[in-house]
Each structure stands twice: as C-alpha cells, then as structure tokens.
C-alpha cells in the first residue's frame, strides 16, 4: 500500500515538474521572440511615455503636483501599455499556425497559460523599471524616495493584470476587433486592482508608508491569487482546438 502511495506521489511530483518545465520553456520562447522583435518592447515603452506626456498637457501645472492625480496617471499608463503586451502575446502565435501547433502538442493548457502569463509579466515589469524613473523625472521627482516599493507594487499588479489579461487575450485572439474588445472586457474586471494600486501609491507618495493601506494590499494580494487560480483553471476552456 505504501509502495503504491509513494508511486502515486512521485507520479504527481513528476507531472508537476513537467508542467513547470513546460511553462518555463514557453516563457523562454516568448521572451526569445520578444528579443528578436525588440520593436514590440520599444512600442510598449514609448506608448507608456506618450500617455504620460499626454497627461502632462491635459492637466494644469497645479494638478500635476497633486499626488492623487499623479498616481492615477501612472496607473492608467500601466494599464494601457500592458494591453499592448497582451495583444502581442497571442498575435505572435497566429503566424504559421503556431497556436495550433502549441495546442496539439502534449503540453497541458495550464502550462501554456503560465508560460504566457510569465512572459507578459516580464515585459510589463521591464517596461515599468524604465518608466518609473522617467515618471519621477517628469513629475517633480516625488517617486525617487520610494522607487523600490513602487517596483514591488508594479510587480504585484502585473501578476493580476497578466493572469486575467492572458486569459482574455486568448479568448479574443481570433475575433474581429480584438484590439478594442480586449480593453472593453478587461478594464471593468480590473477595477479592484486599479483601486488598490492607486490607493497604495497615494499613501506611499504622501509619505505615510504601507501601514494605513494594509487592507488594500491584502485586497491586491487576494485579487492576484484568486484570478491567477481562476484563469489557470478556465484557460483550458478558452483554448480548445
């Protein structure tokens, strides 16, 4: 009996290891594709900066000194440039029927989801690493004392954003008007994420630290966890051949 149990356990461990290594392979593949087509990365980066620029002109000088407004501007640019990354991650697969090849290979849908989600996260985080200092420079340097926490919050936000985003991008990948449908579907679902991030950044930039916004931080972590799991589970329904 215990021998059967230990075989069962190693079987499960083996499957888990295989799932993780498959996900890692797909993650590296997507990163390699992005490296070869580095214009994707630059388009995300410059789109982010363009949004910040547009807000500078849309707001009056007193408004751009207001911390609340600045946090909103930052997270709007995060959302809009993240959408570019999501759209790209599945449109890459459309060429040469790569997506069909991926789906008929013996890789579980969950690994495909994880690999793509991690690739999206990586892109978003690298873009944010560059945008955060530039944001600080453009808007009075308020951010420079808190860069590390800002990067951490971006990391947390990118988990939730990439999970839901990858799922919805997979869903809309072969529909007409997918570029406009993805934001329409995604942004209402991301409201808790957006609220939490804005509240946390406002508190950080105002110098109050994380203690008054611990609840929001818990909401952010909970949102990430819940939607990571739900997206992982429902991805196989989205990606049937």
């Amino acid at each position: 009996m215990s021998q059967m149990a230990s075989i069962e356990l190693t079987n499960r461990q083996f499957l888990l290891q295989r799932m993780i290594s498959n996900a890692w392979t797909i993650f590296l593949k997507d990163l390699k594709l992005d490296y070869r087509r580095v214009e994707n990365f630059f388009s995300m980066l410059f789109f982010s900066l363009v949004i910040l620029l547009v807000f500078t002109f849309a707001l009056s000088p007193e408004q751009t000194k207001n911390i609340g407004i600045l946090c909103g501007v930052f997270w709007i640019s995060f959302l809009l440039s993240g959408i570019l990354s999501l759209g790209k991650s599945f449109s890459l697969e459309r060429e040469n029927s790569c997506l069909d090849a991926l789906l008929i290979s013996p890789i579980s849908r969950g690994s495909i989801f994880l690999g793509k989600m991690l690739a999206n996260m990586a892109m978003i985080i690298v873009v944010q690493l560059i945008v955060i200092p530039i944001f600080g420079v453009l808007f009075n340097g308020v951010v420079f004392d808190h860069v590390a926490i800002f990067i951490f919050i971006s990391f947390m936000a990118s988990i939730g954003f990439s999970s839901l985003g990858t799922l919805l991008a997979g869903m809309t990948s072969d529909i007409r008007f997918k570029e406009i449908l993805l934001p329409i579907l995604l942004f209402p679902l991301l409201v808790p994420l957006l609220l939490a991030c804005v509240k946390i950044s406002q508190s950080i930039l105002a110098g109050e630290g994380l203690s008054p916004v611990v609840d929001w931080f818990r909401l952010l972590a909970g949102f990430d966890l819940i939607f990571l799991i739900i997206s992982y589970l429902t991805f196989e329904f989205v990606m049937e051949v």
């Binding site: 869903m171 209402p188 609220l195 609840d215 909401l219 939607f227 429902t234 329904f237």
Partner: protein, 224 residues
C-alpha cells in the same frame, strides 16, 4: 407556461400600479418622487437575478456542453442588461430631486455601473464572435469571471467610498419603516421577477427559432 406568466405579469402590473399610487403612503421627506423606488429597486434586483441565472447556466454549459444552457445564459444576460440599464436610469432620475445630482460615485451605483459594463462586454463578445461552439464557450467563461469579479468589485468599491468618507449624507435605500411601503415593495419585486421569467422564456423561444433557422440555411449544420 408562457401564457400563464404573461397573464400573471399583466395582472401583477395592474395590482402594482394600484398599490403604488392608491394604497402606499406618500413618504414624508421625499414626497411623490419616492415612488420611483418601486421601479428602481425591483429593476436592480432583477438585473442581479438575471446575471446570477446566467452565471449558473454558464457553469452548467461548460460542464455539460448542452447548447440549451448557452441559450438560457445569453438570453438571461440580455434581459439583465435591460434591467440593469433601467436601474441606472431610474436611479439617476430619482437622484436628481433627492440628492441634487444625477450621479454620484457611491458604492452601489458604481458597482451597478461596472456590472452594466461587464454585461456590455459580454454582449459585444457574442456579437463579434461567430455563431458556434467557440462563441458559447468563451462567453460562458466571461460570464463566470464577470460574476465572480463583481463580488470583488463591490467589496473594493465599498472600501473605496467608506474608508475616508463615511457616507452619512447619502443613504442608499430609504429606511423602510412603514409596513405598507415594505409590502408594496415586495409585491413590486415579485411582479418584476415574474416579468423577468416571462421575458426570459419569450427570448429563449425566439433564440431557438433563430438558431433552427440558421442551422437550416447554413452549410455547417450542427453546433458541434
């Protein structure tokens, strides 16, 4: 079944109008305008009910893959869109004389607006995808995620609005002390629910006729 529901709805509406305008008392602070509540609250309730029904049938569809479940889910969401929109509009009309503004980013209003946008996303998704098994599958996934998300949205928006701004000025529902008001409200909610059932059955019949017609004229044939 449909005929019974239809007749009950008509009778129910007549009873509802009589009760609202003749029987229930005029509220002291708001006056006659408060009567909008008898349309606003049932619309909101029916909207949420419709989305909940769609959620259940979406899960059933993904589990059993029976086309009928997808039909029920999509028709329910459509009707939910109407009632949700009605709730938002009647709420704004009610808000202007009572709160002196058409809109406020109060927790419940914001949640209903976000729900409305999620419903619109679902309907757009159905429109843009082609009729078939994929359309049914992905709209089921959106319905499930939307429903689960709206719970989180409600929690976060309530926090957003109450953490620094205790909402003392705006009360979301008038205090229903009066028994007559409460009874009228319950009757209205029931009538609206019966109306929802009637609309749902009618819409399902229409959708089934549509699909039968489409299958006949299309080269593809069956849904699978």
């Amino acid at each position: 079944m449909k005929r019974i529901l239809g007749l009950t709805t008509i009778v129910g509406f007549i009873v509802m109008f009589l009760m609202v305008f003749l029987w229930s008392p005029i509220e002291s602070s708001m006056g006659l305008v408060q009567k909008i509540m008898y349309v606003h609250v049932p619309s909101a309730w029916t909207g949420y009910l419709a989305v909940a029904v769609a959620f259940i049938f979406s899960i059933l569809y993904l589990w059993k893959r029976i086309e009928q479940f997808d039909v029920v889910a999509s028709c329910s969401i459509e009707i939910g869109a109407i009632f949700c929109g009605l709730a938002l509009i009647t709420g704004s009309i009610w808000a202007k004389p009572t709160w002196n503004t058409f809109w406020t980013w109060d927790a419940r209003l914001t949640t209903t607006l976000i729900l409305f946008l999620i419903i619109m996303g679902y309907l757009l998704l159905r429109r843009f995808s082609e009729y078939g098994e994929k359309q049914a599958r992905i709209s089921a996934v959106i319905a499930i995620i939307g429903f689960l998300d709206i719970i989180l949205v409600h929690m976060s928006v309530v926090w957003w609005r109450t953490l620094h701004q205790p909402s003392t000025v705006f009360s979301e529902k008038p205090e229903v002390i009066n028994d007559q008001i409460l009874t009228t409200l319950i009757i209205c909610v029931s009538v609206f629910s019966i109306l929802y059932a009637f609309l749902l059955i009618s819409r399902i019949e229409l959708e089934q006729k549509n699909r039968l017609f489409f299958k006949k004229i299309s080269a593809e044939g069956e849904l699978n």
